[in-house]
Structures are given as C-alpha cells and as structure tokens.
Symmetry: C2
Subunit: 483 residues, 2 copies
Amino acid sequence: MGKKQSNQVKEITPMEVDFPQWYTDVISKTEMVDYSPVKGFMVIRPYGYAIWELIQKAYDKRFKETGHENMYFPLLIPESLLKKEAEHVEGFAPEVAWVTHGGDKELGERLAVRPTSETIICSMYSKWLNSYRQLPFLYNQWCNVVRWEKTTRPFLRTSEFLWQEGHTLHETAEEAQAETMQMLGIYREIAETCLAMPMVVGQKSEKEKFAGADATYTMEALMHDGQALQSGTSHNLGQHFTKAFDITYLDRNNEQSYPYHTSWGVSTRLIGGIIMVHGDDNGLVLPPMIAPIQVVVIPVAQHKEGVLDKAWEIGKILEKEYRVKVDDSDGYSPGWKFNQWEMKGVPIRLEIGPRDIENGQCVLARRDTGEKIQVSLEDVLKAVGDLLKEIQSNLYDKALKMREEKTSTAENTDEFKKNLKENPGFIKAMWCGERSCEDEIKEDTGASIRCIPFDDEQEVLYEGKCVCCGKPAKKMAYFARAY
Amino acid sequence: MGKKQSNQVKEITPMEVDFPQWYTDVISKTEMVDYSPVKGFMVIRPYGYAIWELIQKAYDKRFKETGHENMYFPLLIPESLLKKEAEHVEGFAPEVAWVTHGGDKELGERLAVRPTSETIICSMYSKWLNSYRQLPFLYNQWCNVVRWEKTTRPFLRTSEFLWQEGHTLHETAEEAQAETMQMLGIYREIAETCLAMPMVVGQKSEKEKFAGADATYTMEALMHDGQALQSGTSHNLGQHFTKAFDITYLDRNNEQSYPYHTSWGVSTRLIGGIIMVHGDDNGLVLPPMIAPIQVVVIPVAQHKEGVLDKAWEIGKILEKEYRVKVDDSDGYSPGWKFNQWEMKGVPIRLEIGPRDIENGQCVLARRDTGEKIQVSLEDVLKAVGDLLKEIQSNLYDKALKMREEKTSTAENTDEFKKNLKENPGFIKAMWCGERSCEDEIKEDTGASIRCIPFDDEQEVLYEGKCVCCGKPAKKMAYFARAY
C-alpha cells in the first residue's frame, strides 16, 4: 500500500482532456481490472469482480423468478457443429479461437472455444426434446466466452468476457416473441433500477442484428463522451437453428414440428457502462445497489481514545443491513482516505471524530453530490438507508438528464454531422429502411443505428423524410457512435 | 415427458449387479448430466447444476467469512508461462488443450486452456505485490478448467469441470501452512455438514502430491463400492512458484523477500461423491442442505375438490423457508410421481389427499428411511424443518457407518489383498515412507495411498511394521482404490 499512496490518488486524467485515458486511469487506479500476459485478455480484480457478483445476483434472481433454470454446457464446440447454421458461422468464424491439440495429440477435428453457445446447446436440445409437453425449455448459463478481438478495452471489448446466455424453446412464434421481449424488459429493469443506467430500447437493423436471428432487440446506454454502449441483447431466433439442428417434437396435433427459439445475454461489459455513465473526474461513482462497499466509515483522529471503538460500533450496526467497511488503516491521514474512497466510488463516507462523538453525531458525505449532512448516531441506520435510496435515484436522474442533453434530432446529413460534432450523443432521425443509407451514414460519420424504438416510443420527425436520402421513411431510429 | 414415463422410473441397475452402470443410470435418468458432442465433456443439466449452485454458495460464504475475495483470471495461458515452474509443467503438460489459432491467424505462441491457474495468477501477483503491508493476498476464483483425460465419467473425471481455486500469498512459512490447513478444514466442514459426506483427512505422499507443491493435503470420502474419492485438496506451495515467477516484496526488515504461497480447490466432482455416498437402488438420495427440492408436495386424487388448493396452500407455507415443489402435473398417477421424486432423491415427500384434508393432516415420507409419518397441518412447517434436520444428520451417520464397515487394517500384503477382495474400502496400514513400497502396492492391488492422517489421528498398527516391506514404519496411511 505504501507505493500506492504516492501514485494512486488524484492522478486521474480529466474526462474533458482525454476520455479514453480517463477510463483507463479509473479502472486501473481503482484496481478493478488489469491487463493480462495474453493480449486482449483482462484480469478482473476483486473490486471489479464484486460488482459483477452483485449484477449477476440481481439478474439471476429475476431469471429464476420467471421460470428459468441454469445449466452448464461445454466450453469447446466441434467445428462441424459451429458450421451448421450458415449465417451464424459467417458472423463468428473470424473471431474464433481454435483448439487443435489435446495433450500431445493433434485432434481429428478442430474445436472452437465458444464465442456463444447456440450451436452446442441446440445439438443437446435436439436430443432432449420429444413432446410439446416438455415445452417451453427455459434455460440459462453463466460462463466465459472468447472472441478474438483486434482492438480491446477492459470490460468494453475483450477477447474473453463473462456473461450469461439464455436459450429457450417454445411451441409458437408468439411465445418466442413474448419471451424475447420479456427478457429485454428484465434487462432494462435491472439496468435501470440496480445499475441506475437509463436505457433506450428497440430493434436492431438487419445489418446490426445477431448472426442467425430473425430479430435482435437491444438496450443502449449513453456514455459521458456521447458514445452509445450496447448493454444487452435479446434475440428471436425463429426456426433458423431449430431447423439447422433438426430439433423436432410431437406437437399438439400429433405432428413433428420445429420449435421457436430465443437467446439473450448481458455481460461484464455492463461494468464498463457503469463506469462511463456515472463516473467523474474524481473517479468511480457507484450506484448503491451494486456498490461492493456502500458505506465507508472513516475515523478522524483515530488515535484519540474511543474513536476507533465508536467507528467499529457504528460499522457493526450498519453491516446488519449494508455492505460496510471501517477503514482503520494506520499511517494514512483521514484526508488521504477520503480521496481514496471517493475515487473508488463508495456512495457514502461516514466520518466520525472526537467532537462528533461528544455531540452524539456523525457526518455522512455523499459521493454523488459531495454534500455533507450531520446525523444523530441514534438515527444512523435509518439515515444511511434513506440516503442510499436517494443516491440511487439521483444517479439515475442525473444519467437520464445527461442522456437527454446529449440527444438531438437531425433532418439531414449536414445537421447530423453538426450535431455529432457539437454535442455528440444520440441522434434521433428518420430512416427509410435501406441498407445503403445506413451504410452511407456510418461511413460519413462513424455513427450506426443503435436501435429502432418500439411503436410506443416512435415519433415522426421532419415530415417523415429519411435523414440520408430524403425519401419517405416509416421509422425513427436512434443513431450514435458506439463502443 | 410422455416418453420419459416409460423408460425413466425403476429401471436403475442395482448397485450390487453393476456399480458403474448404477451410477450411469442414476445420473442420466435423474437428468443431472448428459454426454456432449465432444468426447469427455459433460453437459450439467438443471438438476445437477442446482446442486452445484448450493455447494458453491456454502463454500463461497465460508471463503468470504475468512477474508477471501473473488477475482477472475484469463482462460488462456501462454506456453512460456506454463513452463516456468518445472515440476508443474511436467505434471500438467500431457493434459493440456492447446489453442493455436485466433480467427484465421496462427498464433506466435501456443496458449494453454487453463488446467489450473497458478502460473497466470503468479505472473499477476508478481506485478501487484510490493510491500509486506499488502500481505496476505487472499484470493479465489470460480471457473472452468480443462484437462484432456483419456477415460472420463461425468462429475468424477471429465475433460472440463467447474471448480474454485484459491491462491494466497503470505509473509511467513507458518502463515502459509496455517492457511493451507484452514482451507482443508473449511472443505471438510462444508462437506460434512452440508453434503453429509464424512471425510478422512491428511497429507498426500510425495508421489500423489500436486505438481509443484511442498505438501498437498486432501479430504477423501468412501463410496458405496469401496473406492475412495479425492474430494478436495489444499496445497502448501512454499516458494516454488514465487521464486519461479520472481514475486518479491519489501519485507519488514526492508529487504526483498519471496512470499509463501498456497492454493486449494474443490470441484463439481463433489456431486459425483454425493451420488455415490448416499444413493441407493432407487436412485439419488440428497442431503437436505444441498437438495434443489427439499420437499415435494404430491396431491392424491387431485381431481377431487379442494385437494389442489390445499396442496398449493401447503406449498406456499413451506416455500417461505424451504425449497418446495408442488407436483400437480396431469396424467400421472400419485404412485408414478412417488417413484419419480424418490429417484430424484428429494428428502421429503408430502402426500395430501381428501381424507388427509378431512382429518387436518398430511403424510411426510422420508427418502432416507422410507418411513412415513402423519403430521397435523397446523404443525407442518415445524415438522418439515425438524425432519429435514434429522434426515441431514441421519445421512451423515449412515455414511460414516458405511465407511467404518468398509475400513479395515492389514498387517501384510496378503491380508491387504484379502481385505480389498472381501470388503473393499479403506485399508489402514503402516508405511515405511519408501516410494518403492507405495509403487509395489499400487501395482499389485490397484490401491494407492489416499492420505497419511495427521498426528491426532495417527495409530501404530502391528508394531509399526511396513505393510509391504516389514521394515519399521513411522506412519499409518489410508490406502484404497480410487476414482
């Protein structure tokens, strides 16, 4: 720790100066993540992993409440299986890491380190499914996947990441669509309530959809630098895979049918989103619901009699309901500790010194606003609880306001470019639906269609003329540069 | 499910007839696990995975209570890193799956799919550790590992399995030894209290220890067929890896020192142990603490008015404290359901029919003894709680009794062989400590030294003469054939 004192605190590059460097500073100085000896692979350190555990727990609970069960499928997938669904293999082949040798022997067939598990899961579903009475299949797995990426950034795009992938089968197309939408809804619900990240949701364009899907739905968040982050996707896979893998069952009419299929995933990428939505020039700002430490108790003048005892006493009271750390470490000033835990994004800092004890009170300092309030020691448990709730909701509101400020509309490509330059963020614009216009915008501006909102959030802008070609357009889409 | 009715229930090969076939029948008919398209790799199905989740939760809680934090390290390890510790690479090289291509490109250096993570973790520890003030490092990871195995059996030995691996660093040899023993103690505690599996603990011989360890400690359970299962190991790695990876820190005397190192792991193998310790000819028998379903409520004459309502009412009451399933499925007789859930090892079956309702009672049937008791509906929550505790402790007692019955002593190799033939199990025998005797016994009988018990469980048998060579022996060891 000695070494850290000199180089860790308050040496974060300001966002405005260099946003990518700010991000790199934050993730490394807070010890969330580190680079590994293998290029493009990250080590998730305890402070980062603890956030992932809390995210997992929140999602897993909702998956189970909606009837899904967890399983585990093999890491390695035979090349022949991966190739069974044509669009799918085309989409993933360039990113596959291949195992060619087991021990000293060359394998007869190459094995892909799973980039996603549709193919191996379908091969098992085809074995398990016989009758409509078994449907729906509602399964999920938490695992690691590997996608060989050229340029990587911890949490956001790495050659290995942790995620969950749900894989379901249904009797009807309608049920599969309902499942696809239900899971998108759960993704959004947890992202907004626990991660305090407001989401724009909608459908992906044909160009941007998952390799092998009928339709892909997405939730997209906006980062401080005005770039979007695809934060979770839910795919209606129709019968692409069930036909390719010959998954059939005896239906209610006693005939062999192919079931309808969905898959959906969120990953450790969400942690990158939390950092870039809530963070500031002092470091991380963590929403209380996923903060590994919700309250840090810092004794002031801790050598004075009774201070440490009182700090620990308060810690014990709070830890019955919250995740608490008492920082009684020696050799660091309270000021240094304040900075340290501010950088780590702990929602509440509780300060307690001799004068506070005399007055039967302590100070709560909010990470999100910097505000300090005095509370009576008798009320501390309730005060902390109330404040955590307030911080949680304030972070959501702040993020929503930020997104709204960075969301504009554009009538034509000139305006589109101007907006992207002057106020980068989401641009709402009409789109004719042609791939050529989508490609042209991407090439000219770097912005892609993030999603086409659902009907209840659709708007007709500028008399419905496509932002690119000016022809009649039926849908408004969210465009942005993206991670 | 239609298809399953005909082939699933009551077609388990009796243990006495063919124990390996019994095991295969149980794991497949209960849908815990399935074979995958890649030889040696298993699919863990929901009923098996739910057990793993409960085991994980129990261990993870204890790891955290003892100050350990979780992290995540990369799946792939460069060949050069794996080769840095000589004994280690020699031990693992024959079992490594190698990634040679990423996308279309051949890699400059082969990457090992982790068989265990000492090497990559040490490479990071060497970067992170500077000062004694940072010690101890107390970290763990939950992940998948791959070891290319020639002969495999689901849960017991598979080319991929799920496990946790703890990796700690300490200032002194004493602290590392204390950690090694603490973790062995936690392994045993959870195995005995939650999994109801009595363990023999002790040290591995030089021959059987982990590749690169100073000392390996193990817990070993005895299966119904008299074979031992190594169920968890804790290694004192000394300074082998910290020297090989040049992990140094400034110690209390302001000098550069190498820390002391431990690692420890338990895996999905434990599930195989649960099956083979507690199971019987009717299928699984699950200890309540790790049973995904602790109570199954089965309505009798469910078409009669009020029966289903009452079954659900009881289910709701019980599910506040226990894991409960109400099996109201149509088209199956209660008798068929009884068999089904008996096979799945559910600790308590609760039967409720019209006459029971009239009498304000229900029937609880124990999976472990077959005993049935009537309880008043008013007392059902407490009765179920008491009974689950009793079943948990009865299963442990039964398993201990079984092990004791299958544990013998042998004075010489003739007796050793006779015991193994007539009553296969643990054989306690004196051992001179020579590798030649250990090898000879292994070759002659297939039995290996499972562990050398600690001093408090040591005995002097047959005047301390080695079971093999007859020379003076200092230690008694547990021998057995093993999975």
